[in-house]
Amino acid sequence: MIKIENLHKSYPMGDESLHVLKGLNLHIKEGEFVSIMGSSGSGKSTLLNIVGLLDVHDEGSYYLNGQLIENLDEKKAAVLRNKFLGFVFQAFNLINYKSALENVALPLYYKGVGRKERQKIAMEYLDKVGLRDWANHLPSELSGGQKQRVAIARALVTNPKVVLADEPTGALDSTTSHSVMELLKDINKEGMTVFVITHEEDIAAETDRIVRLVDGVIVSDEKTENKVNA
């Protein structure tokens, strides 16, 4: 599903350039539940941004769903994001003046789905994350956990190939964190590829495979007990 070979990425910092990703190789197959572990500055967010087509890499190759990603213009990237990727952010990133239902329906709008159809699908996914009754509430009327559930529903609504979650529990307490991870686990069980970025050991431990990133280099890549037991 995601195949990365010798990936490099640098950011210009004044006269110098900061080498963030130093030749990564990573292969994530369909249906995997993977976490990227690393402290801040390890390059894990940069990796997610490149995988999520929110940023471009300098060197190496990246295949998404078998398609080589290169020379992407904004428009193509937007279409690919809409088609293949679902995002879950640490800060939820819901549009604050839209109701939960409208937030979930927004990716479908950009996909060109009709209004009635959009609302129906969006409602199904809200139901799936257990927020059917909160459909017409604004994000400001929801708790952190509920917001993240709305965001997950939004990530799933276009039926993408991969769900990318950037510190999905970073802004949540441990109980809520756990229930969000349970939700992601359920989604994975239905066959969705889920790619989580975190710096928390116990969150990573809930996934099936942990890739550890230190200073832009992968230092370990191993299956967790979850997978072994499964």
Partner: protein
């Protein structure tokens, strides 16, 4: 272009962000309102001057004679210039195309007029029928002197409204005979004159009659004429200067002699008024453009602010699959929509206010303050274009920001 979903999206954005919408709408509505009011009042000022001066500036020219002040071609100074009937002929032959109405004039002051015991002294003028439009006298009863009267040297008079009042009281003077210095004249008409009381105390009689009565030979006092209204002010001025030159030549007057022969032309005054109105037009234009520029800058600022404020939202939309084109389109459609609606509201308020206060401003020299439709439509179009540009530049910039940067914007 008409995409119902896009419009829904825009209406939602606008209605959920009321303060923002109100702010930008207010700026535009206010700019257009100010524009309409200033432009309307400027126009009112212009209308006033047009009505008071240019509109009434008659195209009359009066030619008077006097005494020479300079010796010329062997003729001494201090010579009296006397117009005669051949001057009438001379002018008409040479300037036939330039002249509209024409009348030589014999004038006698302090003529005693008597009717049945009532008496008073008036100025009697012997004129052509053309003198009536020259003086812009309005016939109230009967008629003015005619060419037939002129030919017959008829002893008829047209008297001013106040003459009738003085001599006849409440009765009509029409058809009665009045006595002027012992000679009986038949009253054929009574006129009024917008020029005021003095002008309504004249007695007009046929030129030939007056000349025969008060002058030796074919002398006359002065000549009044109106130039062809088709002439522009400049053409009229060159006509009168040519007329002056030729008359001076004919009477042997030094071209630089200002006293011997005077041609008074109202075109000069008319030109001043026209220039004044032109300056007024420039000022109005300046005010209009200034207001519009202020409006344009206002919208631009607000649009930049709006896009800045929405950077994060735009980043979210991009992450969810919005193409740059759809982002630019959305912001611009919003901008144009708000501009058009608010502009129209401002315009309507302005027109309404002008209508409401229009009458009461007359004492401040403002008449019928209004704005031509095309000016207002033009101004609104300019603002819409400005709104488009103002929205386009920040929108393209926003669409170009990498989604990851936009998402991290706080």
């Amino acid at each position: 272009m008409f995409d119902l979903d896009r419009w829904r999206e825009i209406f939602q954005t606008l209605s959920k962000n009321k303060l923002r919408t109100a702010l930008s709408g207010f700026t535009i509505a206010f700019a257009i309102l100010l524009f309409t009011l200033l432009f309307g009042i400027g126009n009112g000022l212009k209308h006033f001057f047009e009505r008071e001066f240019a509109g009434d500036a008659n195209n009359s020219v009066y030619i008077n004679s006097g005494i020479t002040t300079k010796p010329y071609k062997g003729l001494q100074s201090g010579r009296r210039i006397q117009f005669r009937n051949d001057d009438t002929k001379f002018i008409n032959e040479n300037f036939e195309d330039d002249i509209d109405f024409f009348s030589p004039n014999v004038q006698r002051n302090n003529v005693l007029a008597i009717y049945k015991g009532n008496q008073n002294r008036y100025t009697v003028r012997g004129v052509y029928p053309d003198y009536q439009p020259l003086e812009s006298a309005v016939i109230e009863k009967g008629r003015f002197v005619s060419f037939l009267d002129l030919k017959k040297r008829a002893k008829v008079v047209a008297i001013g409204r106040l003459v009738e009042e003085d001599l006849f009281g409440n009765k009509s003077a029409l058809g009665k005979n009045i006595n002027l210095e012992g000679i009986s004249y038949h009253v054929v008409g009574v006129f009024s004159d917008p020029g005021g009381d003095n002008d309504e105390r004249f007695i007009y009689t046929p030129f030939t009659t007056a000349q025969g009565m008060y002058r030796e030979n074919d002398e006359l006092d002065y000549i009044g004429l109106t130039y062809n209204p088709k002439l522009s002010v400049d053409e009229a001025l060159s006509f009168t200067s040519m007329l002056t030159k030729m008359l001076k030549e004919k009477h042997g007057v030094d071209p630089r002699d200002q006293g011997a022969l005077r041609v008074r032309n109202y075109a000069e005054g008319a030109r001043n008024v026209q220039q004044f109105i032109m300056v007024l037009n420039v000022i109005i234009l300046f005010i209009g453009i200034g207001t519009l520029i202020a409006g344009v800058i206002g919208i631009s600022n607000i649009m930049v602010y709006i896009v800045k404020e929405r950077t994060k939202e735009l980043g979210i939309r991009k992450a969810l699959g919005a193409t740059p084109k759809s982002i630019v389109g959305m912001i611009m459609q919003e901008s144009i929509f708000v501009t058009a609606i608010a502009g129209y509201v401002g315009l309507m308020i302005g027109v309404f206010v002008l209508k409401g206060i229009g009458e009461s401003l007359e004492k401040y020299f403002i008449v019928n303050p209004s704005v031509e439709t095309y000016v207002v439509v033009g101004a609104t179009i300019v603002l819409i274009i400005a709104g488009t540009i103002a929205g386009y530049i920040p929108a393209t910039r926003a669409a170009r920001i990498k989604p990851i940067v936009a998402l991290n914007d706080e």
